[in-house]
């Protein structure tokens, strides 16, 4: 693999950065939060991003996608992460899109993925359950077979963008105990289906999420993705892909948090000099810079490993997530400290990054979780 952007990727990066800077500054995310906007992001902007081809980057041309890879997608997502753009990339592209793309058949691609790529249909991924923490296979929601397919019952929490989703990819269990490998299935459920109830949640980092309750929801066979009960390995791959999408967002966020901090170090005067001249702060800033550089290398490597189908994929995803978790939290915490008192105010953006850093760290496994996973995958 080559750990350098291609000319095309450089171009995508520039376009995305310009677009996000102009159309989606942090102030927009802040305004949506303050007005408790019902949608929490801009449907128009999402549609535009789809028209620019960003939503379809990692999906096949048969569904209107670009047939490109995660190495290309992460360049766009990093730009979005820089400005905390609330559009549903992680949920629709990273999670639900990956699920339908990897496991769905041609008819399902046409019915669900094509409108997703066009920005016309929002699909969320209903996986997490209360108390599940980071164990991907811990699923209690049941899928009970009946004459017409399956009937789903259970409660999903922190379903990203679930409050406005048109449909869900629901992870449910056809058999087995609560953390077993066997028995895991993926099911498409329209939000309008009988027995589905959605309740919006409010998170510390303002990322949109909802509780999705399923009460005896009927799923016909054409909405079963892959083999009902046999998709644990696919679930791992979906989460790995989504994790790298989140890592790219984190990379953007940590870079921006650091840039804001660096600018402040060069402008804030105390003791008759700019505080950036103090060695006590300089060295810490240099450390943050190094950690961001290392994170970037790991995210680039993991995205390329996913695209190439490397045998090391899961290890490299864990490497990237562990690194990004620690580095983003460090960059944001150091940022608040270096901003001093104003860093604690809601008015300054650095606090928004600190909240997002922590929320991202605690999604798809923190650094300790991924070190454990690395060790297991390395045979110790």
């Amino acid at each position: 693999m080559q750990l350098v952007l291609t000319e095309d990727q450089e171009l995508i990066s520039k376009t995305a950065t310009d677009f996000v800077t102009g159309r989606s500054p942090v102030s927009r995310m802040r305004a949506l939060r303050d007005s408790a906007d019902r949608v929490g992001f801009s449907r128009e902007l999402w549609k535009e991003m789809a028209e620019l081809g960003w939503v379809g980057i990692p999906f096949p041309e048969s569904v209107g996608g670009a047939g490109m890879g995660l190495a290309d997608l992460i360049v766009v997502v990093e730009a979005l992460g820089r400005n905390l753009a609330p559009e549903p990339f992680l949920s629709c592209v990273g999670l639900a899109g990956s699920a339908i793309s990897l496991v769905g058949n041609a008819a399902q691609h046409a019915e669900w993925l094509t409108p997703l790529v066009q920005g016309e249909r929002l699909i969320a991924f209903a996986h997490s359950e209360a108390g599940g923490r980071y164990d991907v296979r811990r699923v209690q929601t049941r899928a009970v077979p009946d004459a017409k397919g399956f009937r789903l019952s259970g409660t999903k929490v922190q379903v990203l963008d679930g409050h406005v989703a048109d449909a869900f990819v629901v992870v449910a269990r056809t058999s087995g105990g609560e953390a077993d490998e066997a028995g895991i299935g993926l099911f498409i459920v329209p939000a309008s289906a009988t027995g589905v109830s959605v309740q919006r949640q409010t998170r510390v980092d303002s990322r949109n999420a909802a509780i999705v309750q399923l009460s005896d929801v009927a799923v016909p066979p054409e909405r079963v993705l892959g083999r009902a009960g046999g998709e644990a390995a696919a679930l791992d791959r979906i989460i790995d892909r989504a994790t790298i999408v989140l890592c790219a967002e984190m990379l953007g966020g940590m870079s921006q948090a650091f840039d804001l901090t660096l600018a402040y170090l060069k402008e804030r005067v105390q003791f008759e000099t700019v505080i950036g001249s103090f060695q006590g702060l300089k060295h810490r800033a240099a450390r943050v810079f190094m950690e961001i550089e290392l994170s970037r290398s790991c995210v680039m490597a993991a995205a390329r490993a996913l695209d190439e189908g490397s045998v090391e994929v899961s290890k490299l995803v864990s490497l990237a997530k562990a690194r990004c978790s620690d580095a983003y939290v460090l960059a944001a915490n150091e940022g608040v400290q270096m901003f001093g008192g104003v860093g604690m105010t809601d008015e300054y953006d650095i606090g928004l990054y600190m909240k997002r850093a922590r929320a991202a760290e605690l999604s798809f496994g923190d650094a300790a979780h991924h070190r454990d996973r690395w060790a297991v995958l390395s045979g110790y």
Binding site: Q2, L3, V4, L262, L265, K266, V274, G276, S277, Q279, K282, H283, A285, A286, R287, F289, M290, E293, L294, S295, R296, S297, C298, M300, A301, S318, L319, A322, R323, A368, R371, D372, W374, A375, V376, S378, G379, Y380
Partner: protein, 401 residues
């Protein structure tokens, strides 16, 4: 491409004809022949044979011009040569500061006469070089060095002491920073000077380190007469040369730690993990001590992240991007990874890491302990981590003094 493949097959055939078979898969210690020099001792006489045939061909310094004793190879050809040496499991015919530090410096800053005088002797392994930079009173603040060189006709008279001169007791020549203008601003009164260590007035005393052994020495200069023609670049212009050379040194240090680590990371289980299983036991296929197991994973992952970052920097270089202050970042991170790994090895071995010598401790345990002690110097030598952080803050982040 066809030319390169022809070069590969010719190279392989030549190496098979000329390389002594007794050297295959052998490792050699620091003081053995592979460093060359007048004082070289050859535990295996074939090392000298190997040095001579490779030196004759110029392949001890493959990319240097053949006019100066090098191989005149392109970068691609040199890469092929390195690959073929590795494939035949042969040791390098020659290593040392001549090849990695003073040679490249002479190629860039030396006069034609200086290149002709020194480079061929480096290529043939006749002269072993050491570095005279730090002084007892000039460590991180290198530019405050006080070794004086006073002009006397066509000579300088040198007085002072250099410290941390690695392997000075085995070396033949030393490249030094000396003060030639005490009145100038401190960076501007420094000259880069080459000194033959057989000159009258040069003496060397080894330094014992906390690890119980050491390559380091103090080198004293007492009225040492050095010809002015041994000045590299301009009189009082040595600081520029010194900084360029320090860049080489940091890259070399980072490569040393990054390269060793990269090989290990690709194995299914690392040496560190094996070490942990041996001393801590396993439970259900996992290292039994959860805290140390986590530290092993952290260490392996840090190493891998570092390896990818070094690769990214190289890939960017190949794609034509300008390098930043990477050598400083790599120096800090590479050395710190190595130091943490050494500490972890000791913590895993537990009380078995407490041996200095003698019964009750095996050879490997003694080595772990000695390596840990030696590694504490990694973040100090070649410019402390703090100095590197200053460089990053200034040159990359643009933070003011």
């Amino acid at each position: 491409m066809a030319d390169l493949e022809r070069f590969r097959s010719e190279t392989r055939a030549w190496l098979q004809d000329h390389a002594p078979k007794s050297l295959i898969d052998q490792k050699f210690s620091d003081i053995e022949g592979t460093w060359g020099g007048r004082k070289a001792s050859y535990t295996n006489p074939d090392l000298k044979v190997w040095l001579d045939v490779m030196g004759e061909k110029g392949w001890t310094a493959p990319t240097w011009p053949s006019a100066y004793g090098g191989g005149g190879l392109s970068d691609d050809e040199a890469k092929v040569l390195a690959q073929e040496l590795a494939a035949l499991r042969l040791p390098p015919p020659l290593i040392g500061f001549g090849l990695t530090m003073i040679g490249p410096t002479l190629l860039r800053f030396g006069t034609e006469e200086q290149k002709k005088e020194h480079l061929p002797r480096i290529c043939r392994g006749e002269i072993r070089w050491c570095q005279g930079y730090s002084e007892p009173g000039a460590g991180s603040d290198l530019a405050s060095l006080q070794t004086r060189a006073v002009r006397d006709g066509d000579d300088f008279i040198v007085n002072g002491t250099k410290v941390w001169t690695s392997y000075a007791d085995y070396c033949d020549w030393i490249f030094c920073l000396v003060r030639t203008d005490p009145a100038a601003k401190k960076q501007e009164g420094i000259t880069f000077l080459l000194i033959d260590m057989e000159t009258k007035g040069v003496s060397v005393s080894p330094i014992l380190l906390i690890s119980g052994k050491s390559p380091f020495c103090e080198t004293h200069f007492n009225d040492v007469r050095v010809p002015v023609r041994n000045v590299i670049s301009k009189i009082n212009g040595g600081w520029t040369v010194a900084k360029a050379l320090l860049g080489h040194e940091r890259t070399m240090i980072a490569d040393t730690f990054g390269a060793g680590a990269r090989g290990g990371a690709r194995r299914q289980r690392s040496l560190l993990a094996d070490h942990a299983s041996r001393y801590l036991g396993e439970s259900e296929g996992r290292v039994a001590d959860a805290v140390l197991r986590d530290a092993v994973a952290q260490s392996e992952m840090d190493t891998r992240a570092f390896g990818f970052t070094v690769q990214r920097s190289r890939d960017a270089g190949k794609a034509g991007h300008q390098p930043g202050a990477e050598s400083s970042m790599f120096k800090i991170y590479g050395t710190e990874i190595n130091m943490r790994r050494n500490e972890l090895m000791v913590r895993i071995a537990g009380p078995q890491a407490l041996g200095w010598e003698g019964p009750g401790f095996d050879e490997q345990e003694i080595e772990i302990t000695r390596d840990w002690l030696r590694s504490r110097g990694n973040s100090i030598e070649g410019g402390t981590s703090e100095v590197q952080l200053n460089i990053i803050a200034k040159r990359v982040l643009g933070l003011p003094d």
